[in-house]
């Protein structure tokens, strides 16, 4: 083996969860210097380790867990773990701006990030010039709504107030989205620099990052990054010997999805229940402590330094129609290669799911892709050639949202998906608006009834009616978009609702009330299912095909789990 100078190990949350720290410990024990990096993006290959050799070359190893490391150290060829060409294409097929440093640099070392050159440059310009560059770039908010970023900055810059604030919304609440976590864990300085540029532009001297308490590693890396930036003088008093001073502090959220909404987030920052209020006044006029406040999402801020280092026109050249630049998507669900994929806006859903994600895993059939979390919708196969830009995705009834992309196959029941999301929004509704509070609850009850086989023909119409009223009668985005998962599944998968209501059938074999278990001819009579059945519903002599009593069966699934012959099936 060539002489290893150092091993760079992916230590985002996914990497650590896959055991990358144990791999690191094994390598360190034999004297190989180990350096952490953030999320590399190919989450499905974690732990990922880059060996750097004395001759300057390097090799990427995948699924390199504790066992693998031990085996290699005792002589197994490294080649068994080297990343395949196909897996390398996962990254080479992307265009990385937001994730330019994630998985490349050591996030705990400011010198690996750079010298805040974009901020250094920005402080020599006038506020209007910076806003003009941002306008040229065409950057729109990456948190969900896609509002032009320059417009918000301009409004906050022009607003009059004693103190102004910059807030970074890192309350990544959409289940299924984890790009903000990866940026914070892998490249915290890009966010800090983006916030500082914003502070200079709008005339703020204080920045606050509102980050989910569920992201302890992100908080830790941000704390380290803020400390280092202060030490270097990139944050703090008289930055780059100008009159501009800017400090940043972290505020941990306490777990409320609605706090992703600007005004609710502000209420939470002030120590209150996170309930939204009527706009206007917008936060740009009256935000945190009634002062002008600009709020952007993590991914939006991470784009800012790139734009000022490379020019607004360079950013504008990437993307599609009214959606410029790139967007990071979190690929998960029934996909072969799950992880983060950053692509130019306008690439088709098909290119992302099949080109980068490798299609559906376990040889199953694609059914739908869920975009935009609880505010979004399920897009069917016939619309897979839709380009991912804000307008085109909106037309499908889904939204780009924060970029969660959950892929579903034939085993996912679309009525159950709608039920799942309604359960989520009903739970997270702050309770201020009647339709959001009670309407989502009533919609959930109807969906529960349908999935339990007790649906009635009038339920479809009732769902439509309630959906319209919840949309109209809610103050904030949570309620206004809560019906989207129901409306899109009704639109594209109406046949599944029909099957549940009229045929009392769940074709995905997912709704427990509508399926039953049986034992087929594959059964060799080993007795494993019989032993594991908690209600003695299975009977049969050894070596003879067993029989399952449907009356006794509680559909717990233990028989399926214990059967090695695929003999227990759901019908």
């Amino acid at each position: 083996m060539k002489y290893i100078v150092k091993a760079v190990i992916g230590q985002g949350s996914c990497g650590i969860a896959s055991g990358s720290k144990k791999t690191a410990a094994i390598l360190e024990a034999v004297g190989i210097p180990v350096e952490p990096t953030g999320c590399i993006g190919n989450c499905y290959l974690e732990p990922i380790v880059d060996f750097h050799f004395a001759d300057g070359s390097s090799t990427r190893l995948v699924k390199f867990d504790e066992e693998a490391a031990k085996k290699v150290l005792s002589g197994e060829p490294l080649a068994n773990y080297i990343i395949s060409e196909e897996d390398e294409r996962y990254l080479s097929g992307q265009k990385r701006i937001v994730l330019r440093n994630a998985g490349v640099i050591n996030p705990e070392d400011i010198s690996a990030y750079g010298d805040y050159s974009a901020l250094r440059n920005a402080v020599t310009h006038r506020s209007e010039e910076i806003i003009q560059t941002l306008k040229t770039s065409g950057l729109r908010g990456r948190g969900g709504a896609g509002f032009p970023t320059w417009f918000k900055w301009d409004a906050a810059a022009k607003a009059v107030g004693d103190t102004k604030y910059v807030v970074c919304n890192a309350d990544e609440g959409d289940p299924g989205a984890f790009m903000d976590r990866s940026v914070l864990e892998g490249d915290p300085h890009s966010v800090l620099e983006g916030m500082a540029i914003c502070g200079f532009t709008i005339g703020a001297s204080e920045g606050i990052i509102y980050v989910r308490a569920e992201y302890p590693l992100a908080i830790k890396r941000l704390e380290i990054a803020i400390g280092q930036a202060l030490e270097k003088g990139y944050l703090g008093e008289n930055i780059f010997n100008t009159a501009f001073s800017f400090k940043i502090r972290i505020k941990a959220g306490a777990g409320a999805f609605v706090c992703g909404e600007e005004t609710a987030l502000i209420a939470s920052l002030e120590g209150e229940r996170g309930m939204p209020r009527l706009k206007p006044p917008f936060p740009a006029q009256k935000g945190y402590w009634q002062q002008p406040t600009n709020i952007n999402n993590v991914e939006t801020f991470a784009n800012i330094p790139w734009i000022f280092n490379n020019g607004g026109d360079k950013f504008e050249a990437i993307g599609y129609e009214k959606s410029k630049g790139t967007k990071v998507f979190a690929l998960a669900g029934k996909i072969r290669r799950g992880g983060l994929a950053e692509v130019p806006m306008g690439v088709s859903l098909r290119d992302i799911i099949y080109g980068i994600g490798g299609g559906i895993k376990d040889g199953k059939q694609f059914k739908a892709v869920q975009l935009g979390g609880p505010s979004g919708g399920c897009v069917p196969e016939e619309l897979l050639d839709t380009p991912v830009d804000y307008e085109s995705i909106n037309q499908t009834g889904a939204i780009v949202g924060s970029g969660g992309m959950i892929v579903m196959d034939e085993t996912t029941c679309m009525v159950d998906m709608a039920r799942y999301f309604l359960d989520f929004t009903r739970n997270e509704s702050c309770g201020k608006c009647n339709y959001c509070r009670i309407g989502t609850k009533r919609m959930l009850e109807i969906l529960e009834r349908i999935t339990e086989g007790k649906g009635e023909p009038s339920d479809i119409e009732l769902l439509h009616e309630l959906a319209d009223k919840v949309k109209e009668g809610s103050l904030c985005g949570l309620g206004q978009t809560a019906p989207n998962p129901v409306l899109t599944t009704l639109r594209y998968f109406g046949n599944e609702y029909y099957d549940h209501i009229f045929e009392k059938k769940c074709t995905a074999h997912s709704c427990k009330a509508l399926i039953h278990y049986d034992i087929n001819e594959n059964c060799i009579g080993c007795g494993a299912c019989k032993r594991n059945c908690p209600v003695e519903a299975i009977s049969g002599e050894r070596k003879v095909r067993h029989v399952l009593d449907k009356e006794k069966c509680i559909k717990c699934g233990k028989c399926i789990e214990s059967c090695k012959f695929n003999a227990v099936v759901k019908i």
């Binding site: 989450c43 289940p175 302890p216 939470s268 120590g271 959950i406 789990e561």
Partner: protein, 163 residues
């Protein structure tokens, strides 16, 4: 004076007069005690002048705050979308059955509290759970029912050996 209360008082010395810091105070208090008791809320109310009812209102609004004591190991079982389509409900049922507790309940021996959470952000490893103990957090991915039972048994065995 109660030693435990002393810790809370130190915290309140720092934050009692800082506007908007109620959530931070509650987070830190929960860090100290593991949960928020009526006594803790009363004490915070007395020092900050914020009405106990309001503190209760804030504490019940956010999922992070617990008004009941928790077990030694807090199991945060993910019910996010990616986990849901990969069978989180079955995993949850397996964990619940294995420990004989429902969501938000603590085992009789005080060892485990089961908590279903919205999303842990490790979607590519779905289904996932995170277990928070004294030693920090550990995330477990690509769960199966059998794997969940094994993980819980291992922790239990470790605890028994430590006694």
């Amino acid at each position: 004076m109660n030693i435990e209360l002393e810790k809370l008082d130190k915290l309140l010395d720092k934050y009692a007069d800082a506007p908007g810091s109620l959530i931070t105070v509650l987070q830190n208090a929960q860090e100290i005690y593991g949960w928020l008791s009526e006594g803790t809320i009363e004490h915070i109310s007395g020092r900050t002048g914020i009405k106990a009812a309001k503190i209760y209102g804030v504490a019940t609004f956010y999922t992070q705050f617990r008004l009941k004591p928790i077990g030694k190991h807090l199991i945060m079982l993910c019910k996010g979308t990616a986990c849901h389509v990969n069978g989180a409900d079955d995993i949850a049922a397996a964990a619940s059955e294995h420990l004989s507790v429902a969501d938000n309940e603590t085992t009789a021996d005080g060892l485990f509290t089961l908590n279903y959470v919205a999303c842990l952000g490790c979607c590519s490893l779905a289904p996932v759970m995170m277990i928070r103990s004294d030693g920090g957090e550990e995330t477990y991915g690509s769960l199966t029912n059998a794997k969940v039972r094994q993980i819980l048994d291992d922790i239990r065995a470790k605890e028994a050996a430590a006694e």
